[in-house]
């Protein structure tokens, strides 16, 4: 939680960003600034480049051009940025041979945390998996597997969350709870960037439609 008390305000700003895949420009001249407390839903048709954008924001991929800044500093090669980031992709990093509790633990340890037994229990409760604590994840249903990954959110102290389709395979009640979590995160000054094709019901929800940043015909290829 220490990062949250830091004086520098959480702010993610994207300036003049262009992303390409194999020479094809997906979107260009993207400008956006997320301030503390924002939840940003990235919209776009299938193949618009949402996942690519999130990968770029997470620093996993260099952008074709443009700069992304976190708290005013460029994120390229910025290790402190990596530490203030929580990323969850399409795939849930969940090992079928490990139990639910073990999976949650190693993911947390990897991010330098060591959750206590209570923290673990409460996270499990939040995602409705108390009963499965010692079940190996290979024996879970699709939605339950996603929930194991989502449990990280309840443990994470990172101010910036980047979530790629977090609602996939989650049931209605789970979606509601997750939205509540996002609202809490925002109220603490955290920022969430997520993609979803479902409409969200959140107060300070911002949306960013990638369709608005399509390149013109002339410069569709670099």
């Amino acid at each position: 939680m220490s990062q949250w008390e830091e004086p520098a305000p959480n702010e993610l700003s994207i300036s003049n960003l262009t992303c390409t895949r194999e020479d094809r420009v997906l979107f260009t001249q993207l400008e956006y600034t997320c301030c503390a407390g924002a939840v940003l839903q990235v919209l776009g048709f299938n193949g618009a480049g949402k996942t690519t954008l999130l990968h770029t924001l997470a620093g996993l991929m260099p952008p074709a051009s443009g700069v992304i800044r976190w708290r005013g500093e460029s994120i390229a090669g910025n290790r402190s940025y990596t530490r203030s980031l929580f990323y969850l992709g399409h795939q849930a990093p969940v090992k079928p041979a490990l139990t639910v509790a073990e999976n949650i633990q190693w993911l947390a340890r990897l991010r330098g945390q060591s959750p206590s037994a209570e923290e673990l229990c409460s996270a499990l409760e939040q995602v409705d998996l108390e009963a499965y604590q010692n079940t190996s994840c290979g024996h879970l249903s699709a939605g339950q597997k996603r929930r194991v990954a989502l449990a990280q959110l309840y443990l994470s102290a990172a101010p910036l969350w980047i979530l790629d389709e977090p609602f996939t395979a989650i049931d209605k009640e789970g979606v509601g709870r997750l939205q509540q979590l996002l609202a809490t995160h925002a109220s603490h000054g955290g920022i969430s960037v997520l993609t979803s094709h479902q409409p969200l019901r959140l107060e300070n929800l911002h949306t960013l439609d990638l369709a608005a940043f399509q390149p013109d015909e002339a410069c569709a290829y670099v």
């Binding site: 194999e22 020479d23 290829y221 670099v222």
Partner: protein, 252 residues
């Protein structure tokens, strides 16, 4: 100023246009050198006392062997430059060098085997140098293969560069270990004429051949790289302009 020049070097277009001008005189020169060297060696150099005419393969074999090793380092250095300065051109040079190098290594192996039949009585002998050459071929092939199977071009380049760089550490180690392995086994069944004792009338054409091979290597590298540039930059404006002007030339 110096850096500007350096980064220009990384621009495929600059390279393409520059080499277009060079090629007009460099291509004939290297082909001529090669022809002269090979005819001298294959037709006019004196007959060897022990091996008869079969020794003449050396004029094809030895320069190819020397270059295939040098080529590996060139490839790795190109890859390293590409990785460090994030330039496109060195990667293209690296890929081309892999193909040319693999071809030369294969040539060495083939001519060596052909030579082996009259001298050793067999096409293949487990001799330290032979094994080293074979392994070098594998190293080249692994880079070519890796470059071809990667789905994304940029990633393929970087992956190949890493492999080539690790190879630079390994090539001398492989060379030494193979040599060392051989010294532990029984000595060679056939001693070759040492290059020091070679007669000048045989040596001069050999030297010429080596020079010619170097030129020819450079030439093929340039040609390959130019092709690579066109293939990879096919969608850019300057290439399509180039293609347009060329096709209009051919129409005229």
């Amino acid at each position: 100023m110096a850096w500007q020049w350096f980064h220009k070097l990384g621009s495929p277009r600059w390279f393409y246009e520059k080499t277009s001008r060079w090629l007009t005189w460099f291509a004939p020169l290297s082909v001529a050198l090669l022809l002269v060297g090979l005819t001298w060696g294959l037709a006019f150099a004196p007959v060897d006392a022990k091996q008869g005419n079969s020794y003449r393969i050396i004029y094809i074999h030895m320069p190819a062997a020397v270059l295939s090793l040098a080529g590996y380092y060139l490839m790795a250095i190109a890859g390293g430059i590409g990785l460090i300065w994030k330039m496109k051109l060195p990667f293209m040079v690296m890929q081309s060098a892999a193909y040319v190098g693999a071809a030369l290594t294969a040539l060495t192996l083939i001519t060596g085997s052909l030579w082996g039949y009259p001298t050793w009585g067999t096409f293949w002998e487990w001799d330290a140098r032979n094994i080293f050459m074979l392994i070098l071929l594998f190293l080249y092939l692994s880079i070519i293969m890796l470059g071809r199977v990667y789905p994304v071009r940029e990633a393929a380049d970087k992956a190949c560069a890493i492999l080539a760089l690790v190879g630079t550490v390994n090539v001398p180690i492989i060379y030494k270990s193979v040599d060392w392995w051989y010294s532990l086994h029984q000595p060679a069944s056939i001693k070759l004429t040492g290059s020091s004792s070679i007669h000048p009338s045989m040596l001069y054409p050999l030297l010429l051949c080596i020079v010619a091979y170097y030129c020819f290597y450079t030439l093929s590298l340039i040609l390959y790289t130019r092709q690579e540039i066109l293939a990879r930059e096919a969608r850019t404006k300057w290439v399509s302009e180039l293609v347009n002007t060329q096709s209009s030339h051919t129409k005229d």
